[in-house]
């Protein structure tokens, strides 16, 4: 009894506490919020919002303004839901020099650009843990390519891109020695480097290639942005740990009042490459590519990179002092202003590209850092936003002269004007915002209609789901003078950076089916006539077709325990939204989800005799439940002949003599 009372009391207290909090946050939402985010059933959203999945390793796609989840695109992590990383065709996508890596931590996304605007061709994603960059095809919403990055310890300042997608960047957050050197950790200052890789993108195929790497002094390359317009040809990186500490960084990397923004003149780097000034270095990294015609990935080992040394090759890299441990390093739509967000600073410095160029020309330097000129802070400075908030992280732009900066510590978005560095408005976020996104906010032409906050802490925003909570995004209308919170929506993994693009740019180019006549898969069955089962030693290849509502062949005998059985399933459908699934009992694997016109392969090694049902896992028609079949597995060495078929051709029992 006493117990109950106590509990009731406690509950009451909780409710009281909560209702207080609700009142506070509730006040932020004003009357017409619902109509601004309501997208009626059957209507489309205005924007695609591509959100990094953080430690889920995937990219999620939301509709804005509704906040509806449209798709999760598997990128760096396996995805049993559609067989990514489980089917034989997709396994090579996750191959690395460390073998098959089924997971990664993805932080940032970059939509491809033409003339500084999102063009809707591709979106790039970084893998922070096992350094890689991925390219996702926005026609198919599939990962088309993954490139491993050598000489990187953690691919964080990535995959930011230049205004015509000439380069995708991969800068290491954890500096490490080049190659696979075995050195004492305490030799950081002598041996460790921060490598920035410039990845060239083929404008036709989208294929990536590491054009060159710049081996910067050992420090942490945190985030980066390409210049645009007048600053096109330059890349800017924020840095921390310019103290070059290798232990207790929390304290030891926060000693100096200023770290640096690294300004890289990549056009100059290109000249050095052309003039043969780089050093070819033996290394190893895998390059994985998806082929839409063979419906298969290949994984190729690359063994060389070209390394440029900025201490030796002059006029290529400059340092701008920036207070203090800067995180975001964002370039405004005009390309003139570079915003450094010092995590531990009480102000936001805004640098001017024109002034930076003048300082470099006039050699207004305050010294050198490891052989690289350091520009005088004041010489490059446009202005400082005073007392903006606590813990500035990232900045996006609305194209109307305003900047929006996220503040982690003070949990708010602050709007300020770039020209006179004055704070204009601030709104709270719930809670502890990390990245933020204005649709097109990193381009020359942002759609300054919304800003979306991606929060690190969710706490009481949704019904509780135990200790582990979804992280939350919040949508603000920024079309007026005052920012207005209009929607919360939960996200997968931990959303870091996200980008949003006008739905018009992508919508009509979305692929509906794969043309069966262009299917060049090695094991395709072009129609049921070509279905067959072929044994080669203990390998059994089953050329199978799927169409509403049967799998051919659906009776298979003469397979033995321990055989390696490959189900190559071709979906013969040519209609939009008719995938077929495939699963077989005991497969130590995932299902296949096969799109119309596609062929996918499931490997299965039966470990005991018996009859194994297989079936279609994706409800496809009124007779979906009937879309099933049987595999007979006999003891190893038995004399059951290999037979298969469907209907009239299904194997018949031999009449007893």
């Amino acid at each position: 009894m006493k117990h109950y009372k106590l509990m009731l009391c406690a509950l009451g207290a909780v409710i009281a506490g909560q209702s207080c909090k609700m009142k506070d946050t509730g006040n932020v939402v004003q009357g017409d919020a619902a109509s601004k985010v309501y997208v009626a059933p059957g209507k489309y959203d205005e924007f695609y919002n591509f959100v990094s999945g953080g430690f889920s390793g995937q990219v999620s796609v939301y509709g804005i303004p509704s906040g509806r989840l449209l798709k999760v695109i598997p990128v760096f992590s396996v995805n049993p839901e559609n067989g990514y990383g489980f089917s034989e065709e997709t396994k090579p996508m996750l191959n690395t020099t460390a073998g098959f890596v089924p997971w990664d931590d993805e932080h940032h996304l970059a939509l491809s650009q033409t003339n500084g605007e999102h063009d809707g061709r591709w979106i790039f994603a970084n893998a922070n843990n096992t350094p890689r960059v991925a390219r996702i095809n926005l026609g198919t919403f599939k990962t088309d390519e993954i490139l491993e990055i050598p000489n990187s310890g953690g691919n964080h300042s990535s995959p930011f891109i230049t205004e015509n997608t000439e380069y995708v960047i991969a800068g290491t957050r954890f500096s490490v020695p080049l190659g696979e050197a075995d050195v004492p950790i305490s030799s950081f200052k002598e041996n460790f480097k921060s490598v920035a890789s410039f990845i060239n993108v083929d404008q036709g195929t989208g294929n990536m290639k590491i054009a060159f790497q710049i081996a910067l002094p050992g420090m942490s390359l945190d985030l980066s942005r390409a210049g645009k317009g007048p600053s096109h040809g330059w890349f800017f990186f924020s840095t921390y740990n310019t103290e070059q500490a290798n232990t207790l960084l929390e304290v030891n990397a926060s000693q100096k009042d200023k770290d640096f923004i690294v300004a890289v003149n990549w056009k100059k780097a290109e000249e050095y490459v052309k003039a043969g000034k780089g050093t070819k270095m033996k290394t190893r990294y895998y390059h994985n590519k998806w082929n839409e015609e063979t419906h298969s990935a290949t994984s190729e080992l690359e063994q060389e990179v070209l390394v440029l040394d900025p201490a030796e090759l002059k006029d290529m890299v400059y340092m701008i002092p920036c207070p203090k441990s800067p995180h975001g390093c964002d370039v405004d739509p005009s390309g003139e202003y570079i915003v450094g967000s010092g995590k531990l600073a009480a102000l936001i410095p805004v640098f001017s590209f024109n002034k930076l160029m003048k300082a470099i020309n006039d050699k207004t330097f305050e010294g050198e850092y490891q052989g690289i000129p350091v520009v005088k802070y004041e010489a490059a400075l446009h202005g400082e936003v005073q007392k903006p908030g606590l813990g500035p992280l990232h900045t996006e732009f609305d194209g109307k002269g305003n900047a929006y900066t996220s503040f982690f510590l003070s949990s708010e978005v602050v709007k300020w004007s770039i020209k006179d560095v004055k704070v204009l408005d601030r709104v709270p976020t719930y809670y502890s915002i990390g990245h933020l996104c204005v649709p097109g906010g990193d381009t020359r032409k942002p759609y300054g209609k919304y800003v979306i906050a991606y929060n690190k802490i969710t706490k009481d925003r949704y019904l509780p789901t135990g200790p582990e909570l979804a992280q939350s995004a919040q949508l603000y209308d920024i079309s007026g003078d005052k920012m207005q919170l209009i929607l919360d929506f939960p996200t997968i993994g931990e959303p870091h950076y996200a980008q949003a693009i006008d739905a018009k740019v992508i919508k009509d180019r979305s692929v509906k089916i794969f043309d069966i006549n262009k299917n060049k898969h090695q094991y395709v069955a072009m129609g049921e006539k070509e279905t067959k089962v072929v044994r080669n030693g203990n390998r059994v290849d089953i050329y199978m077709t799927a169409i509403r509502s049967h799998l051919t062949p659906d009776n298979i005998e003469g397979v033995f325990v321990g055989d390696e059985v490959y189900f190559h399933v071709t979906n013969l459908e040519q209609d939009w939204d008719v995938p077929h699934g495939f699963a077989i009992k005991h497969a130590a694997n995932a299902e296949l989800l096969i799109m119309p016109g596609e062929t996918s392969t499931l490997k299965f090694v039966p470990d005991r005799t018996g009859i194994y049902p297989f079936y279609c896992t994706d409800f496809c028609s009124a007779l979906h439940q009937e879309m099933q079949g049987y595999l007979r597995v006999s003891p190893k060495g038995s004399n059951v002949p290999l037979k298969y078929g469907i209907g009239d051709t299904a194997p018949k029992a031999v009449a007893a003599k």
Partner: protein, 161 residues
């Protein structure tokens, strides 16, 4: 109660805003979306057009059969049709093809294989077949030429010349 009214009010307000939206500005995708539920009611007892519904209103038949078209039709059949249709009169998933060119007008066949969904929704004959087969024929995305080839292959299968 109050709250409910509010929601209703807000919903109707938003509906109002939507129907008026767009004005002079460039239309966003949000406004372009087709209205759901515009399926027209088609009276199944109304005069049935033996040519079906679709763009083919007059198909010229060739005599003798065009050998190349027959060949093209057969390869389309192998990949896209044979899973469900036999060349005899035996029903598999769909009806066997024997005699189809006697049962159907050439235009009906070509409209059906190229305009599957509308035919299955509206054409009385196609709807009747669906009640027999209980599976919607998949739209196999045939080009006009492929559809014509299929027709020629069916004619061959029926012994026409």
């Amino acid at each position: 109660m109050n709250r409910k009214n509010m929601v209703v009010l807000m919903l109707s307000m938003s509906a109002f805003i939507y129907s008026c939206g767009g004005g002079g500005e460039e239309k966003s995708v949000r406004d372009q979306t087709p209205d759901p539920g515009k399926n027209e009611y088609v009276d199944p007892n109304k005069d049935v057009n033996p040519k079906g519904i679709g763009k083919f209103t007059n198909v010229e038949l060739t005599h003798p059969l065009d050998v190349n078209m027959v060949k093209g039709g057969e390869s389309v059949y192998d990949v896209k049709c044979s899973s469900c249709h036999k060349l005899t009169d035996e029903k598999l998933v769909g009806p066997g093809w024997k005699g189809v060119t006697d049962r159907r007008q050439p235009e009906w066949v070509m409209n059906f294989v190229t305009n599957v969904d509308e035919m299955l929704d509206k054409d009385a004959e196609a709807k009747a077949m669906m009640e027999v087969c209980m599976v919607r024929m998949p739209n196999q995305n045939l080009t006009d030429a492929e559809a014509r080839n299929i027709l020629e292959f069916m004619r061959k299968n029926d012994g026409k010349n």
